[in-house]
Subunit: 301 residues, 2 copies
């Protein structure tokens, strides 16, 4: 099967998995559930659950116990988008060509839907603990990684630094920008791959290598976002281009120029693949995973 | 020692405990940490951690493994207040006589501080899993209770139903109002006491009784809130009175009248104490806990 067909098939499988884990819309609190489901089922690459599942397989994992974590990380990614889009934050009306959650359900319900998704991510991940023969040590380690990488020492920390950077305009340093990307983008990709590794039975040294590779993938992914904001079109990207320049936002492209940014992104991506393929020599190769990482820097949306 | 001195001492101990678990304010994400700490250290009765700790002791618990859960539940309670106070929700500028988080730190940072506290609550509770000799089964059961009672099937569900009720004005039914109070208020009190019971080693039947007692306590607590909104003063309550009437809000008092509401609240409180003292006969009595529950319906703020 071609990489693209395999990617499509795996994406569809993750969509089905998400549907089974999302709440049934019922009762007095039905509206928040609708808003949550609307937000999660708005499409997207499903990159984080896919990286998690592929890393899990690379370490020999073959059970369904990874699934609650796959659903959980996509819920956390989604809640961060719902809250990011709010009027007090980025004030975005469209995402992936659809109206954002607060436009459809109102601001109060969008705040609650974000809270609901973050909380439900933990409820969902905790279901892995109830599987027959669940390894509670692995499960609790995986959950601690999820919580840490999503929180103030991870994604929320990056989001905070990003908001602070807005007031600095062109005075944002490369160090500050790296902190933002490491935490806002890379942290959740690290969580995805590290949880796959932990649940698949990786040892501490292997988990460290996965964490480093995921850092490179996260930063390279973010640089590609910055590049696409300059080079893409509204139709391809599904959101307005040139928004970074309009918002006077410091990015890799504004700091380094597009050629240097592009070179750095390719180097980080290659380095990540080297690290991952080095792991494969002691375990199971996962060619799809390498191809997936490679595809992230050639993507056009 | 008198009940009041003991209450003050225990409240002070919980304040110290919270301080040790809250994040150190540092780094690029310092502002969100400041906003989180400002929100949690704004005072308050610390009722949920206290009920948790006292229930834990009633079942013979005497370890520090309960502390991460005590801090976690207060973080969750606080995040719900921070998001409730936002302009898109209740738009409150003052709470407990202090400016609310979004007034001091701005709306974007208040949204992030709420997200940060909810996420950090799980990070904090997960520290209980790392204690020497931690019982991972008990810990994961306690964490699942926390997640469930705080989420869309608990507190967030109640908050959603409450927002829906605002559009109904005087058409809110008693059933709808009970759903709101059960979920918005009682659920987190249930979580507090059930986690205390689980971590203290209670069996399933005992945990069920604790859940029922906490339901009564939660509803009685909420009715007292509704009564105080009519009978108290700004100075005593630390927030404007008469806000329910102003907002055309259906409450126990508007539905039943103040006398019937007061009678129902006393009955529920007595019932809760009966249930709790019945448990004591098979375990350790906790007179302070009974006195604490009694104090909630005689409180004036």
């Amino acid at each position: 099967m071609s990489f693209v067909s395999e990617l499509d098939e795996k994406t569809a499988a993750i969509e089905r998995l998400l549907t089974t884990y999302l709440p049934k819309e019922q009762g007095w609190a039905k509206t928040v559930m609708e808003a949550m489901n609307y937000s999660v089922m708005a499409g997207g690459k499903r990159l984080r659950p896919m990286l998690m599942s592929e890393t899990y397989k690379m370490f020999g994992g073959s059970q369904r116990e990874i699934e609650p974590f796959m659903a959980a990380i996509e819920m956390i990614h989604t809640y961060s988008l719902v809250h990011d889009d709010l009027p007090a934050m980025d004030n975005d009306e469209y995402r992936r060509g659809r109206k954002t959650t607060h436009i459809v359900y109102g601001e109060a319900m969008a705040i609650l839907a974000g809270d609901g998704l973050l909380n439900y991510a933990f409820e969902t991940a905790l279901k892995a603990f109830e599987f027959d023969g669940a390894d509670l040590k692995r499960c609790s380690r995986a959950l601690a990684i999820l919580a840490q990488k999503a929180g103030i020492y991870g994604m929320i920390g990056g989001q905070t630094a990003d908001i602070e950077a807005e007031n600095l305009g062109a005075d944002v340093t490369e160090e500050h920008l790296l902190f933002i990307h490491e935490h806002k983008t890379a942290a959740l990709i690290q969580a995805a791959m590290m949880i796959g590794a932990v649940m698949g039975g990786a040892d501490d040294a292997q988990i460290d290598i996965v964490e480093r590779a995921a850092y490179d993938i996260g930063i390279a992914f973010q640089i590609q976002d910055d590049i696409l904001d300059v080079t893409s079109t509204l139709e391809t990207l599904g959101k307005p281009i040139g928004s970074d320049e309009k918002n006077n936002k410091t990015t890799y492209v504004t700091l380094k120029g597009i050629e240097a940014a592009s070179a750095q992104q390719k180097e980080m991506s290659s380095h990540a693949i080297e690290l991952i393929e080095g792991l494969g020599s002691g375990g199971i190769r996962n060619d799809f995973l390498s191809e997936l990482i490679r595809s992230l820097i050639t993507r056009i949306k």
